[in-house]
């Protein structure tokens, strides 16, 4: 059995163990009941070989709008609808965690008008969705460098996180103002401080300890490592998203722009994941 800090280890936990450790909520008809399995089979997917945690880089809103001769704000609104659809589908198909890359550190260099619009959009989306999250059992978390976000957005995301803290059906993580390298540097700073305070010896820092310091939290919290990482709009890069956590993730690249990413594309990504042979270095690189 691999040690739990290793990204590969979480994938080997049997699903029944995961279900037992989550707090006993209202019995939900969606949790592994046969209608879900049937719906999946109907679409050519097997429930047991679906990814537990899907990460998505929502790229292509501005390009989508430009192609239609519309302002980028329309593209971002369309992107919002695509994300809501993806959240709905993930919940319906029993995917336990979804991480979406909404705004990267590099995006701060976009025109101020667009950045302000996006911040307003995030605030509105979180505000409008809290009721839905509570109903559907979705737990929201926001990761990234909060200090750069407008105060109102910080406040509302904190409140939403608090309100949905006890939900367990789907962990939705929004990465806003996020950079993978910064996350690692941040963890390094925290550990350096602990070493300084003599709470920790430098020699004792290992992968487990380091992984715990990352924003995505401990392995026991849920599913910190994505099984599948989808990137839209044809870019073949990771662009500073979940560097540490995506060590063993299956990558799926598609040319579809994010606002056009719908059920059919999602199914394609999941089928592709299903057909992959994941070895975690054991038989082969």
């Amino acid at each position: 059995m691999l040690p739990s800090h290793c990204p590969a280890a979480t994938h080997q936990l049997p699903t029944s163990a995961c279900r037992r450790t989550s707090p006993a909520a209202l019995p939900c008809p969606r949790a592994g009941a046969s209608p879900v399995a049937e719906a999946l089979l109907h679409r050519g997917l097997r429930a047991e070989s679906l990814p537990r945690h899907v990460a998505v880089v929502m790229d292509g809103n501005a390009r989508w709008a430009r192609a239609r001769g519309l302002p980028s704000s329309v593209g971002h609104e369309a992107g919002r609808r695509a994300l809501e659809e993806m959240v709905r589908l993930s919940g319906a198909w029993g995917i336990r965690a979804l991480t979406a890359f909404a705004f990267s550190n590099e995006n701060w260099s976009r025109p101020k008008v667009e950045v302000d619009f996006l911040m307003g959009l995030f605030e509105q989306v979180i505000h409008d969705s809290v009721a839905n999250f509570l109903r559907e059992g979705i737990r929201l978390r926001v990761i990234g460098d909060r200090s750069r976000l407008p105060v109102s957005l910080q406040k509302i995301s904190r409140e939403a996180e608090e309100a949905t803290r006890n939900n367990s059906l789907l962990n939705l993580t929004l990465a806003i103002s996020y950079s993978g390298r910064r996350e690692i540097v941040q963890a390094c700073r925290k550990l350096a401080e602990k070493v300084q305070r003599k709470a920790l010896r430098a020699e004792d820092i290992d992968e487990a300890l380091f992984a715990d310091e990352l924003a995505t939290g401990r392995a026991s919290d849920g599913f910190p490592y994505p099984d599948l990482l989808i990137r839209t709009s044809g870019e073949l890069r990771l662009s500073n998203f979940l560097l540490w956590q995506s060590a063993y993730s299956e990558l799926f690249f598609t040319d579809t722009l994010w606002p056009d990413f719908g059920e059919a594309d999602y199914l394609e990504a999941l089928s592709s994941f299903q057909s992959r042979d994941r070895r975690f270095g054991e038989r082969k690189l």
């Binding site: 290793c6 390094c188 350096a192 020699e203 380091f210 500073n240 560097l243 060590a247 270095g281």
Partner: protein, 331 residues
């Protein structure tokens, strides 16, 4: 997803590594490639490894191949060329299985393909090459396979040590990145000797990641950085406030402690055999690299696949450069 369809039946770069090194003795690196078959030749399905005699081509044909290759290199050099290419050499075992040859031979042919690719890259003016030779996770494999891989590596490193003038001719500086303590004594000593003997070379930088895991590289860097900071704080002896020491830890600080300190980030990461994963390889360094997943297995990876990879890179180059510059400004 970038993919190139290679005919699995063709035996493209299946020249013996020993042959390659013998030819290197003769002079310019390109002469070793006269023993390679270009994929445009009709290929026969040959399940057994070819004998060295069959690989020697006639003088005229060899010169023609050389000339064609030089022309192609000249043409693609008009566009932006990558400075650093990283390879995940996946597919050796599958290659051996398809050809019904002994498994160890798959790795040996993989090594031949590696030397060939190295020389092609050198011809094209690529300055840094990094390969993922062995992952720390691979220690979990069948002990017999691990043992044979270690023996192969020891053998090849010793060969390179003996033919040091070969490396020096290409002016190659060799690096071994990874947790070398996990290697057995003879392999580790050989690797350290090779690194020491090529440390002064200023040409192509060839880095072999073995045994390597990006997560342990990052933890190692954090470890070293924390120790460094603690010693620095110890020297100041409580005169500076606690916060001052840590809040200025930056990306550059961590960069300095990575095994890859001093090397630029890879421009292209090529993982053969069509798998789309990073498998814990250079996670920190490849954040803006162009990821490619050609279908051929590693022993089949040849000159035309490399050219295709570079052409793909050139196609997206303007966009990548723009994002990289932006990111470096903000990080």
């Amino acid at each position: 997803m970038t993919g190139t369809r290679a005919r699995r039946g063709s035996t493209t770069t299946s020249h013996d590594s020993q042959k390659a090194q013998e030819n290197l003795h003769d002079g310019a690196p390109s002469s070793s490639l006269t023993s390679c078959r270009l994929p445009s030749r009709p290929a026969t399905q040959n399940p057994k490894m070819e004998k060295p005699d069959e690989l020697i081509t006639t003088g005229v044909l060899a010169s023609l191949q050389n000339f064609i290759r030089k022309c192609i290199v000249a043409v693609i050099s008009y566009g932006p060329m990558p400075k650093h290419i990283a390879f995940i050499m996946d597919g050796n075992r599958r290659y051996a299985k398809f050809r019904s040859i002994k498994e160890g031979s798959g790795h040996r042919m993989g090594f031949s393909a590696l030397i060939a690719s190295l020389l092609y890259c050198y011809e094209m003016g690529v300055e840094y090459i990094t390969v993922y030779a062995f992952s720390i996770d691979n220690f979990k494999r069948d002990p017999a396979e691990v043992q044979s891989l270690m023996e192969l590596m020891e053998e090849k490193i010793n060969e390179l040590l003996e033919n040091r003038n070969v490396i020096n001719k290409v002016n190659c500086k060799m690096n071994f990145w990874g947790n070398l303590d996990l290697l057995s004594e003879p392999v580790r000593l050989a690797a350290q000797k090779l690194m020491a003997s090529t440390a002064e070379n200023k040409g192509l930088v060839f880095s072999v990641c073995m045994p390597y895991n990006s997560t342990s590289e990052i933890v190692n860097a954090v470890n070293e950085l924390c120790t460094e900071r603690r010693e620095h704080a110890g020297n100041c002896n409580g005169n500076s406030p606690n916060n001052g020491v840590h809040s200025d830890i930056s990306v550059e600080d961590l960069d300095r402690h990575m095994y890859s300190a001093g090397c630029p980030d890879p421009d292209i990461v090529i993982r053969t055999s069509g798998e789309t994963r990073l498998s814990n390889f250079l996670l920190w360094q490849t954040t803006f690299s162009h990821l490619q997943n050609p279908d051929p297995l590693w022993p089949e990876f040849s000159f035309r696949h490399l050219v295709w990879a570079i052409l793909q890179y050139q196609r997206v180059y303007p966009y990548i450069e723009q994002t990289k510059k932006l990111a470096k400004k903000l990080l």
